[in-house]
């Protein structure tokens, strides 16, 4: 009895910790935590701090002095830099919106089981794996002035002269749709299959037609998933970089914010300006995501009856 009385405070502490889930198992997290801190959080904080230390001799310092906000002031004062935000949003938002909206009816039709479903989903994975660089390269050949696409349009007689679809705004949007749509579609499809199909059957026994079923049952259950799908699609579209250079017009029409950041870092070697641009880029993106997630928080997000 005496020994247990002596040991009890120590045991009690270990108990209390173990009860809250703190025990030696958590040591397994250590390598991953070190990893994220060293390679993600530290660079981020470093970049943030760097963005408040403008590089001597840089354009920003020459114009706005060496105060901590010189880089940011420079960014927002210079239309060539500032407008990259709008350029990026103008490309990213419509592309992401289109990808999500187009995938809803298609996924809704394909939510059941049918022959060849796996083939279709497999084909759709191809552009995701190929990535933006190859897609851009393919677009240049396919949609260029002498490419098959324009050739078909002219042979059918829709246009007389080749339509310019590459090296401009539309080229980038096309490349974002080709890589982004399958992504949005597969995500939407998996959210849809997670909704218990008997719910719709129950609604139909209560007299709801397909539109009412979709409007009142499926859509509300799908909406939170769509919000996430939109966020992830937007993240992909917002970070557009290689295709903006390759199939866009990187000097003007498709000078997106990531090009500005890259330009500052690796062509002007102004790392603080580059960090500032990266931070602004992150902030703009988080604002959009925050708005979408804020809207999502007001939706029903409980179980969708699926077993997945």
């Amino acid at each position: 009895m005496a020994s247990s009385a002596v040991a009890s405070p120590r045991i009690a502490l270990r108990h209390r910790l173990a009860e809250r889930g703190v025990d030696r198992t958590l040591l397994l997290l250590l390598p991953a935590v070190v990893f994220v801190v060293a390679l993600f959080i530290y660079p981020f904080v470093y970049g943030l701090q760097l963005s408040f230390q403008p590089q001597p001799g840089s354009e920003a310092v020459n114009r706005y002095g060496s105060g901590p906000f010189a880089d940011y002031r420079n960014f927002f004062a210079d239309p060539y830099l500032r407008d990259t935000i709008w350029t990026t949003l103008k490309i990213g938002l419509p592309a992401a919106l289109f990808n999500v909206l187009a995938s809803v009816p298609i996924a809704y039709r394909m939510r059941g089981r049918f022959r060849g479903k796996r083939t279709i989903t497999t084909i759709l994975v191809v552009p995701i794996t190929l990535g933006t660089v190859l897609t851009a390269e393919g677009l240049l050949a396919f949609m260029g002035p002498t490419g098959w696409f324009n050739r078909i349009l002219m042979d059918v007689g829709i246009v007389d002269h080749p339509v310019r679809l590459t090296h401009n705004y539309w080229g980038v949007v096309f490349s974002l749709v080709i890589t982004g749509f399958p992504f949005a579609f597969l995500l939407t499809l998996s959210y849809l299959t997670g909704i218990d199909p008997t719910l719709e059957r129950a609604a139909s026994t209560l007299g709801a037609n397909w539109f009412q079923r979709f409007r009142h049952i499926t859509l509300p259950l799908l909406a939170p998933g769509l919000a996430i799908t939109f966020c992830l699609s937007f993240v992909l579209a917002f970070s557009v970089f290689p295709s903006a250079i390759m199939v866009g017009e990187p000097a003007r029409q498709t000078r997106v914010i990531s090009i500005a950041a890259f330009h500052a870092a690796f062509e002007q070697y102004d790392y603080s300006m580059a960090s500032a641009i990266a931070m602004i880029m992150g902030a703009v993106e988080l604002i959009v995501i925050g708005l979408v997630l804020g809207w999502r928080a007001r939706l029903y997000r409980g179980a969708t009856g699926g077993k997945g």
């Binding site: 247990s4 045991i11 108990h15 173990a18 009860e19």
Partner: protein
């Protein structure tokens, strides 16, 4: 078979808290070698907590466990050498039936030949010899449960722990496996602690029942004792005293009590508690008889459920008290009948004492 016999397992004030809630509150229990003890109670009563504490899967927050004067509550589960059968079987899905059963022997570094012989014996005992090379996913629920039992007993542990082992099986298989567990216990004589929420299972299997409620022991005793003499209203409700009639107390004697409001002469029963102005009479449906007798009262039949040889009847007295009873004769809703119950089968408890939860009644 050689047997690892123990003479005594003692639990002394065993307690377990979860975030300030006492899931198990000072359990005292002494188990002698070869005994089959059932821990019985509704969900959340602490029975599974008690079992996991015994297994070592949950550390205690207080108390001691001693096995033949050796303190074991500080040992890791793998050092205790107990066998355990889990509710969902917890078979190793990537191992054959044979390897599942042999796993413990391999951990104990039992020589190969010896181990093989013991696995074969265990397979024979649970009648799975022809399925020995299958994988768990290829077996039915009942067969999986047999593997789980074989795995737990092949080491002939000093203590076998069973955590609701039959609750995932369908009704027919459950009866079969119940007999099987009883047979294995009779063959090997291994000390067993069995957790269940099914009082019928506990009554039929165990030498001794431990009834738990909110982490506290309500009654410990032989099945017969607990069945006929429940210690309190909770145990009564749990053991099938489905009628719990709250009535005003008429007259109280040393052993008996008369309650007002049921039949002309009131309801006479056995006094089990100190009583206030109101009391609860607990009566089993099967203790009622249709026809005149002691404690007779006239009722109107409301609902009749056909149950083979008998009918389960819900009836209402003229005062609006609902009674559950059983009848061998055919009755129909609307019939007026007289029912009676012997006073010694009417247990009267204090009205304030806690009742058993609805769903297990």
């Amino acid at each position: 078979m050689s047997q690892t016999k123990i003479s005594e397992l003692r639990l002394d004030q065993v307690s377990r808290e979860f975030g300030g809630v006492r899931a198990l509150d000072g359990l005292d229990l002494t188990i002698t070698g070869g005994e089959f003890v059932a821990l019985l109670g509704p969900s959340g009563c602490g029975k599974s907590t008690a079992l996991n504490c015994l297994a070592g899967l949950l550390p205690l927050t207080g108390g001691t466990i001693t096995l033949d004067d050796r303190r074991i509550d500080t040992l890791q589960p793998e050092q205790r050498g107990f066998g355990m059968v889990f509710q969902n079987y917890a078979l190793f899905p990537h191992m054959s039936v044979r390897s599942n059963i042999g796993f413990g022997l391999r951990m104990a570094k039992v020589p190969k030949g010896d181990a093989r012989r013991r696995v074969e014996e265990a397979l024979t005992l649970v009648q799975l010899t022809e399925h020995a090379d299958k994988f768990p996913a290829q077996l039915s629920g009942g067969q999986q449960q047999r593997v789980a039992i074989a795995r737990a007993i092949v080491l002939e542990p000093p203590l076998v722990l069973m955590d609701e082992p039959l609750s995932n099986l369908d009704a027919k298989l459950r009866l079969e496996m119940r007999t099987e567990i009883k047979r294995i216990h009779q063959t090997l004589g291994l000390t067993t602690i069995y957790v269940t929420h099914d009082q019928e299972e506990a009554l039929s299997l165990a030498d001794r029942l431990v009834l738990l409620r909110k982490g506290r022991v309500q009654q410990i005793g032989s099945p017969e004792h607990v069945y006929t003499e429940p210690a309190n209203r909770f145990v009564a409700g749990f053991m099938g005293y489905r009628n719990e009639l709250e009535l005003p107390v008429g007259s109280v004697n040393e052993k008996t009590v008369v309650l007002d409001g049921l039949g002309a002469g009131g309801l006479t029963g056995v006094r089990r508690d100190d009583l206030g102005e109101r009391a609860v009479a607990a009566i089993r449906p099967e203790d009622f008889t249709v026809g005149a007798g002691p404690n007779a009262t006239e009722v109107t039949v409301e609902v009749v459920e056909y149950q083979g040889r008998e009918q389960a009847i819900q009836a209402r007295t003229d005062d609006g008290v609902d009674l559950h009873l059983r009848a061998g004769t055919r009755l129909a809703p609307g019939d007026r009948v007289t029912v009676s119950v012997p006073p010694e089968r009417v247990l009267v408890f204090a009205a304030e004492s806690p009742a058993a939860p609805e769903e297990v009644a």
